[in-house]
């Protein structure tokens, strides 16, 4: 804290900005309860019918389940790829490290549109993979970048004296990993899994290009946005948004708590 406070303007402005960030979320949740078939102000009557209607819509629920299944696979795959790589990058001298980092982090800055189109060209060589497999492969590519970055910073802060202690006491690499490293980074791993899942679950552009006849939830919503939207979409979106917020916030608070404990110890 310093004396330069700008009075009440700074807190007041911050409140406004948070309102801007959460306004669309509030609106979508609010309209999920609107009894009218075409949502709009003023809301005269509230209903929970749209929630049961959306959960009874087999096509919508099917796309939701597809999204969950594919995002789960992408999250597990990308974490499995990212963890050993992050350990090596953080702990061992790596030749051409900046080149490796460019390779790993490239998908972050590459426009999703370009990656998607490039993958469309690539999968022309393997048309059988178009659909669910292609979506999982693409999402793994995208989320493994974030996963590697997050785990890399976690491993940089890891106290390597623990490893030395274990190995001086005669543990081999695998025992040390299983008994020392894994338990200590488990919370970060779970947080990374959750964030990778969230990212893959919501991704649209690349999935849309590679989907074939597979329909994920973002694709289903995209399709319905081109027509008159049923309030069922808002009801399901409201549910998904609340779960997403809960998952991402708890994952990040978890990471935050971890790094704080690390600093204090």
């Amino acid at each position: 804290m310093n004396r330069l406070s700008f009075g009440w303007t700074l807190p007041a402005y911050s409140v406004l900005l948070y309102a801007f960030l959460y306004l669309p979320i509030v609106v979508i949740v609010l309209f999920a309860f609107d009894a009218k078939a075409i949502p709009g102000l003023p809301i005269d009557a509230f209903t929970t019918d749209w929630f049961s209607a959306s959960l009874g819509d087999t096509r919508l629920v099917g796309s939701l389940l597809t999204s969950i299944r594919l995002a789960l696979m992408a999250a597990v795959l990308s974490t499995a790829l990212a963890m050993p790589a992050a350990m090596v990058l953080a702990w061992r001298p790596v030749r051409m490290k900046s080149l490796v980092l460019c390779l790993v982090l490239g998908p972050v800055v590459l426009p999703q549109l370009v990656l998607g189109l490039g993958l469309v060209v690539l999968f022309r060589a393997a048309p059988d993979l178009i659909g669910a497999p292609a979506i999982v492969l693409a999402h793994t590519t995208m989320t493994s970048s974030y996963a590697t970055l997050m785990l890399y910073s976690r491993f940089l802060g890891f106290r390597r004296s623990y490893i030395e202690a274990a190995m001086n006491l005669g543990a081999d690499e695998f025992t040390t990993f299983r008994e020392v490293v894994l338990p200590l980074v488990a919370p970060s791993l779970i947080a990374v899994l959750l964030l990778a899942f969230t990212d893959a679950f919501g991704e649209f552009v690349v999935a849309w290009f590679l989907a074939g006849f597979t329909e994920t939830l973002p694709i289903a919503i995209w399709t319905s946005l081109r027509q008159v939207i049923s309030p069922k979409i808002y009801a399901l979106s409201a549910l998904v948004i609340l779960v997403t917020l809960f998952v991402s916030v708890s994952a990040q608070v978890w990471i935050l708590g971890q790094s704080r404990r690390e600093c204090e110890s």
Partner: protein, 296 residues
């Protein structure tokens, strides 16, 4: 590094092989599913099509054709303008909040930071759907404005125009700008600000001569990401922008998927990539500094 040398050396083969084994799967994966697709885009961009069939060739015609079609020029210009506007708007909107979180929020800073980023994790399609509810002719904003008597007729420019695209993009990338700004402002010691004030600098002068220059790394890094993402973004312009004034990303998608002219679409994608790389290259020095590689 020291750990590797201090431990008694057993099974040297395993020790030498482990790092490679750890790194290799990810590197191979990224080569196949990231480097190769990008290379393919470059490759296809010099090919030709004949009656919807790809013909391997080597021609720069696709690039020449881009510059010959004014519609594509306009789309590219609109994309660059929009991305630049969104970047500046995000910087101005994000700065006070980043300062507030970094310097004034006390023990709430962690939670406030998480709360800024949280909406970013929601699927872009859902966020855009919400903005359609807000901006439409019978949307929330128009209804509220008319009830309050601010306007008589609904403001139709709010949806399906570059304005709505800009609003959607600002909403999408504001959280991304707060993060690097927060990091940069946290690194400014309170003593330096106090010193300026003690030496009788006005708050405005303190801001412009101490705080702003010291937050430059965060400003630049945030700007690059905002601009790069804004330039390539597809969903927001496609769903909010209407069909009249197309953005570059929409033209690329249209070329690829509707007109099935992959070489032409690929050439446009290469132009987009060149812009992205140029923005990154111009700011590389600052990205290094912000990531703490060279320090300050």
């Amino acid at each position: 590094m020291s750990a590797a040398h201090d431990i008694p050396r057993r099974r040297p083969l395993l020790r030498a092989a482990l790092p490679a084994a750890g790194l290799l799967p990810l590197v191979l994966w990224q080569i196949v599913f990231f480097v190769v697709p990008v290379a393919l885009i470059f490759g296809v961009s010099v090919w030709r099509t004949q009656s919807y069939r790809l013909i391997p060739a080597f021609t720069f015609d696709n690039y020449i054709a881009i510059f010959a079609r004014p519609a594509i020029w306009r789309a590219l210009l609109l994309s660059v303008e929009t991305a630049a506007f969104v970047t500046v708007a995000c910087a101005v909107l994000a700065f006070p909040v980043a300062y507030f979180i970094a310097k004034k929020a006390g023990r709430w800073r962690g939670l406030l930071l998480v709360a800024v980023i949280a909406p970013f994790w929601i699927s872009i399609v859902m966020r855009v759907a919400a903005w359609r509810l807000l901006l439409g002719e019978r949307g929330v904003i128009n209804q509220v404005a008319m009830t309050l008597g601010l306007t008589d007729a609904p403001m139709s420019f709010l949806l399906y125009s570059p304005v709505s695209t800009a609003i959607g993009l600002i909403y999408a990338y504001l959280p991304l700008y707060v993060l690097p700004l927060y990091a940069a402002i946290s690194n400014i010691h309170d003593n330096w600000i106090e010193a300026a004030l003690d030496l009788n600098a006005s708050p405005a002068r303190t801001f412009f001569e101490v705080i702003l220059p010291l937050s430059a790394p965060g400003l630049v890094v945030g700007a690059v990401f905002c601009f790069v993402f804004g330039l390539g973004e597809f969903v927001t312009p496609a769903l909010l922008g209407g069909g009249k004034q197309l953005m570059f990303s929409q033209v690329i998608q249209d070329e690829f998927q509707r007109r099935l002219d992959w070489p032409s679409g690929a050439a446009m994608a290469v132009v987009l990539l060149v812009l992205v790389f140029a923005a990154l290259a111009l700011s590389m020095k600052w990205i290094r500094r912000a990531s703490g590689e060279t320090g300050l």
